[in-house]
């Protein structure tokens, strides 16, 4: 399973990066490949490449605000949750999404 995602919170200085960290750790623990971009107040960091997006099985948006570049994910399966959910329960979140994906596939 390959995942790409974006993290962005309101103040864009703390939760954004905590969420990225948590989600990436959880995904790697589950044995998935993951790339997470952050859109903080400083701007976009770790920007996703078109190849990463193309290869991904789904897009995980961990965002509290409107993010830029959503059109990159056209035609992809996109999941959007608040940063809080991802910080509280990253593993459960990813497992739940994967289960749902298998159920609908």
């Amino acid at each position: 399973m390959k995942i790409v995602g974006v993290a962005a919170c309101t103040s864009g200085i703390a939760h954004t990066y905590i969420a990225r960290e948590k989600v990436m750790k959880a995904a790697q623990k589950l044995g998935y490949e993951i790339h997470m971009e952050t859109q903080g107040t400083i701007g976009t960091e770790n920007e996703l490449t078109p190849e990463q997006i193309k290869e991904a099985d789904f897009v995980l948006l961990v965002v509290d605000i409107k993010i830029g570049g959503k059109d990159r994910f056209k035609g992809k399966k996109v999941v959007e949750v608040p940063t809080n959910t991802a910080i509280k329960a990253p593993t459960k979140l990813i497992e739940a999404v994967v289960t749902k994906l298998h159920a609908t596939a």
Binding site: K29, F58, I65, K66, V78, V79
Partner: protein
């Protein structure tokens, strides 16, 4: 239905775009004022650097409503929202509807633009005109009329009412208001509840009500200072309440607290949420109540201890801050359990995770 409107997300987007502007403008005003600057009214007469800084800060604050309005409209309607969102906000600012008007204007602008984009159908030759002329003109026209004649006025009354209500509060009412605001500002360590309190205080600053801003600043610093005090107490009395890892976090959280960033406490709060939230909110509520009751005003929305000299009663502010922090520190010291020393991060992650509502997750 209400969830589908995503009101919170749009508002949060606006706050996210507004924050750096508020901080910059506020600090400019502070630097200008502290060096003797005044708002320039006559540009022909020449002016000093401090006055230039103060003026720039005040202008920056004036951009607050337009930025909020444009950001909300952008969040709702994407790029076409920005152009009509800015004028909606500037109307709000100029007729005195302030940030409340800016927010409402932003939402209406966003929805109007969405509707226009959806329902206006043009022949093929006019397709270029639609985003470049038809949508901007129609949306600005509609919003202009709405803001000037219909939406604006009630908001002006509301804003004035709120302002005079806050200014007219006495004694215990002030204390209670300060407690609520302070408790809210400390409640989630820089999260959405804090941002609501923060937006409220920043908005009132625009109306010239400066007390809530002092409460906000105080409440943002109580959690890191309170935690630090509890740690110092634990060292003095040899009663261990923090693990090695947490102690390292506190050493980072304290300097962050000085510049009013509460988020440093999050790593400590994450593993002991209830105790931290209760103690920090309580300390901040008491401190906030005192600050409000003592009429402490801050003309600057951000900057931590460095802008205390810009307040009207700096010493009293420090006393209120100290009382709030000590209360938080004492509660934590008395309530926190001895830590279970663990060797690094490799704990079973799943065991600590909270339950989330999986039914809420939608794949689109």
């Amino acid at each position: 239905m209400l969830k589908k409107l995503q009101l919170k997300k749009h508002a949060m987007t606006a706050i996210s775009y507004m924050l750096p502007l508020v901080v910059a403008a506020g600090l400019l005003i502070a630097i200008g004022n502290l060096t003797g600057g005044k708002v320039i009214t006559d540009f022909k007469g020449g002016y000093t650097l401090p006055s230039a800084l103060t003026t720039l800060g005040v202008w920056g604050m004036g951009l607050l409503a337009p930025v909020i309005s444009a950001a909300i409209a952008y969040s709702i309607a994407d790029r076409p929202g920005i152009a009509p969102g800015l004028p909606s906000g500037i109307i709000s600012y100029n007729i005195g509807a302030g940030f409340l008007g800016g927010m409402l204007g932003g939402f209406i602008t966003g929805w109007v633009v969405l509707a226009l984009v959806k329902y206006i159908k043009v022949p093929k030759w006019a397709e270029g005109l639609k985003p470049m002329m038809i949508i901007p003109l129609l949306s600005s026209l509609i919003m202009g009329i709405l803001m000037f004649f219909i939406v604006g006025q009630p908001i002006v009354w509301l804003t004035n009412g709120l302002t005079s209500f806050l200014n007219g509060m006495q004694g215990s009412a002030r204390f209670v208001f300060g407690m609520i605001l302070g408790g809210m500002a400390a409640f989630d360590f820089g999260g959405p509840v804090n941002k609501v309190a923060s937006l409220f205080a920043d908005g009132l600053l625009l109306q010239g009500v400066q007390e809530p801003e002092a409460v906000k600043i105080l409440a943002s610093m109580v959690p890191p200072f309170g935690v630090t005090i509890s740690w110092v107490l634990s060292k003095i009395f040899h009663h261990k309440i923090y693990s090695k890892e947490e102690e390292d976090n506190i050493k980072v959280a304290f300097p962050m607290g000085i510049v009013m960033i509460t988020e440093g406490v999050i790593p400590i709060a994450a593993v002991d949420l209830i105790r931290l939230v209760v103690s920090c909110s309580f300390g901040a509520a008491i401190g906030g109540g005192l600050s409000m009751m003592w009429g402490i005003k801050s003309p600057v929305p951000s900057g931590g201890l460095f802008i205390v000299p810009a307040m009207n009663r700096p010493l009293l502010f420090l006393v209120a801050l100290l009382i709030g922090s000590v209360i938080t520190g004492l509660i934590l010291f008395a309530w926190k359990k001895e830590p279970v020393e663990d060797d690094g991060l490799e704990k079973d992650m799943e065991a600590e995770e909270e339950d989330i509502d999986i039914g809420d997750i939608n794949i689109t």
